[in-house]
Amino acid sequence: MSATEAMPARAEAPADQAALLSVEDLKLDLRDEQGWVRVLDGVSFDIKPRETLGVVGESGCGKSMTALSVMQLQSPRYSRLDGRINFQGRDLLKLSRRQMSRIRGRNISMIFQEPMSALDPVFTVGAQIRETVQCHFDVSKREADERAIEALDSVGIAAPREIAKLYPMSLSGGMRQRVMIAMALVCEPDLLIADEPTTALDVTIQSQIMDLLLNLSQKRGTAIMFITHNLALVSQNCDRMITMYGGQIIEGGPVDDVLSKPLHPYTKGLVHSVPDAGRERGTLNAIPGRVPSLRAMPPGCRFEPRCPHATTICAREVGIEDIGNRQIRCHRWQDLTSITGGAQ
């Protein structure tokens, strides 16, 4: 059975509404064998109620660490967080562990690239969703079970009662992802963090899952922080986006503006490196080099070693600048837009 459906229309870009989540100057240090290392360095962004924010960037740029920091899922022994994470008027970094665990799964929940990392192999999926419900609501086991079945039903699982009795291992990748979405949405959170939820899936299954995520979140008014390295997915599903590089945000703004007129040389590089049937072979734009290791970040602009437009000024530290509804971290963005007219 199949259906031809129009893309779910995105919510109107929310007006000047108070932010649901407002991350300010977030710094994360992690400890490994070689000691402490700064993984996130001054990350600031907002998500408004009902908004979908895309987070893009090369592997290792800090997307997942940003998400885990909001959830405070890093082990405190090996991590240090600094800055402010304001959520519904409270700074999450000032909450006790107990207070935070009440928010997690109830007000903010998260889905991961590899569902098996979040699902417990020794419990049935029904029991796991019931557990989540009972964790946050004072309901009977029977009631929680019913909610679990409803949740499985809402993510398009055809025989929810049967599937609820199965263990995660016996499900396909797409089904596991559906189960994880059911679990993440069962408490109707205000914010859903989705970390590459479709990267391991085929495009056909990817489009089912994205469709499902957007429809459910729209129906319930859930805001989404959507992490991916697929710019096309961001283009199709998000209202605003931020690009990360080397543990910093280097550009941000409304999706259409950023993708059609990227201001930062790195975002431009990403947009132009997408393979395309219409493009002469051998001429795809690639970004030369690789991201420096966190312990060897250049002191100035972090993209400087790979940037085709770098000049002497780029050796100096560069802050993020607000220009209208966009943000940009580049010494030369004005020169570059005036030379190239922005779009190229």
């Binding site: 059975m1 199949s2 259906a3 031809t4 459906e5 129009a6 893309m7 229309a9 995105r10 090369e58 592997s59 396909s172 797409g174 089904m175 085929d202 495009v203 056909t204 299954i205 990817q206 489009s207 089912q208 994205m210 469709d211 390295h229 697929n230 710019l231 096309a232 997915l233 283009s235 199709q236 599903n237 259409d256 993708l259 059609s260 990227p262 431009k268 590089g269 990403l270 947009v271 132009h272 490196s273 997408v274 393979p275 395309d276 049937a277 219409g278 493009r279 002469e280 072979r281 051998g282 001429t283 795809l284 734009n285 690639a286 970004i287 030369p288 690789r290 779009a343 190229q344």
Partner: protein, 347 residues
């Protein structure tokens, strides 16, 4: 749009690879899985032949059988005029160098205790090529070809990025002077920026060494960018074969059409509101193939007959083979010239 002349399709020479009615099965009786089920195609020398399909559709198995790494249970495979399965072991060793496969996970190809240079020299040692100094020189030359500096060659695999490892992996194949390379999901694990670099490299190598590729990927953008012709696979069978941009812009099979539709693209807001085909369900269990047309359990166009009658593969236009009862109707939609409008890309 690129002018993509398949010099090969015009040539009358012997194909580099020809596969006739090939079947590859695993297991037996009740656990029998026909991973590839009656597939035919030819690849001309110098051609890039793309194979696309969802995971589990049989792409890797097809690729491995096409180079002789897996023995088909039926049909035939020819490498030029040679039947690789009729060779003696000795002949086969020499022959294998010409027909190689590069797999998705470069880690599997490297011994963590060998430097990159040693790993690239190793296949030549096994093949008994040259002396040590010659092997070293050739390995360094190939590492240079794939843009890895001599400094990188002294490193161990864990000190290289995914893209660099994949480059070293390609150098490892190139030192044996192959003619045909099966590239199985070679850019799947890479970031787009690195992926673009690798795709450019594959194109350059093809030109410089006159290689022939079977380019396997589940990524429509990747396959349609690099390939001359593509085959769309579903559940062990080829649904459609044709020139890459034709299949991309004027799909004649409902499955190719659905794949195309599911592929997200960067587009301005208005263009995003297009009608999309969202395929329901997943690829059925391999142990339990659907009757009739294998795609009928998910096909948006399926009618009753599709569940009982398997469609014949037919040539609808020169070089375009399609297996669907309604392929003629699909073709008719594109009848007035210039039906395939090109989406405007951003930037």
């Amino acid at each position: 749009m690129s002018s993509r002349q398949t010099e090969s399709s015009a040539s009358t020479g012997v194909p580099a690879v020809s596969v006739q009615d090939m079947t590859v099965s695993f297991g037996r009786s009740r656990t029998l899985v026909r991973a590839v089920d009656g597939v035919s195609f030819t690849v001309a020398p110098g051609e890039i032949f793309g194979i696309i399909g969802e995971s589990g559709s049989g792409k890797s198995t097809l690729g491995r059988a096409a180079v002789g790494m897996v023995t088909p249970s039926g049909g035939e495979v020819r490498h030029g005029a040679v039947d690789p399965f009729a060779l003696s072991r000795q002949q086969l060793n020499a022959h294998r160098r010409k027909y190689q496969i590069i797999a998705q996970d470069p880690n599997a190809a490297f011994n963590p205790r060998m430097t990159i240079l040693e790993s690239v020299m190793e296949p030549m040692y096994i093949a008994g090529m040259g002396n040590r100094a010659e092997r070293r020189e050739r390995a360094l030359a190939m590492l240079d070809t794939v843009a890895l500096s001599p400094e990188m060659s002294a490193r161990y695999p864990h000190d290289l990025s995914g893209g660099q490892k994949q480059r070293a992996n390609i150098a490892r194949a190139l030192v044996l002077d192959p003619e045909v390379l099966v590239c199985d999901e070679v850019v799947a694990a890479l970031d787009v920026s690195i992926q673009a670099d690798m795709l450019n490299l594959f194109w350059r190598l093809k030109r410089d060494f006159n290689l022939t590729y079977l380019f396997i990927s589940h990524d429509l953008n990747v396959v349609s960018h690099i390939s001359d012709r593509v085959a769309v696979m579903y559940f062990g069978k080829i649904m459609e074969i044709g020139p890459a941009d034709e299949v991309m812009n004027r799909p004649l099979h409902p499955y190719s059409e659905a794949l195309r539709s599911a592929e997200p693209e960067i587009a301005a807001y208005q263009a995003r509101a297009r009608e999309r085909i969202i395929l329901q369900g997943e690829i059925p269990s391999a142990l339990n193939p659907p009757s009739g047309c294998r795609f009928h359990t998910r096909c948006p166009r399926a009618v009753e007959m599709c569940a009982s009658n398997e469609p014949e593969q037919r040539e609808l236009a020169p070089g375009r083979f399609v297996a669907c009862h309604f392929a003629e109707e699909m073709l008719a939609r594109f009848a007035p010239e210039g039906g395939g409008q090109k989406h405007e890309s951003v930037g």
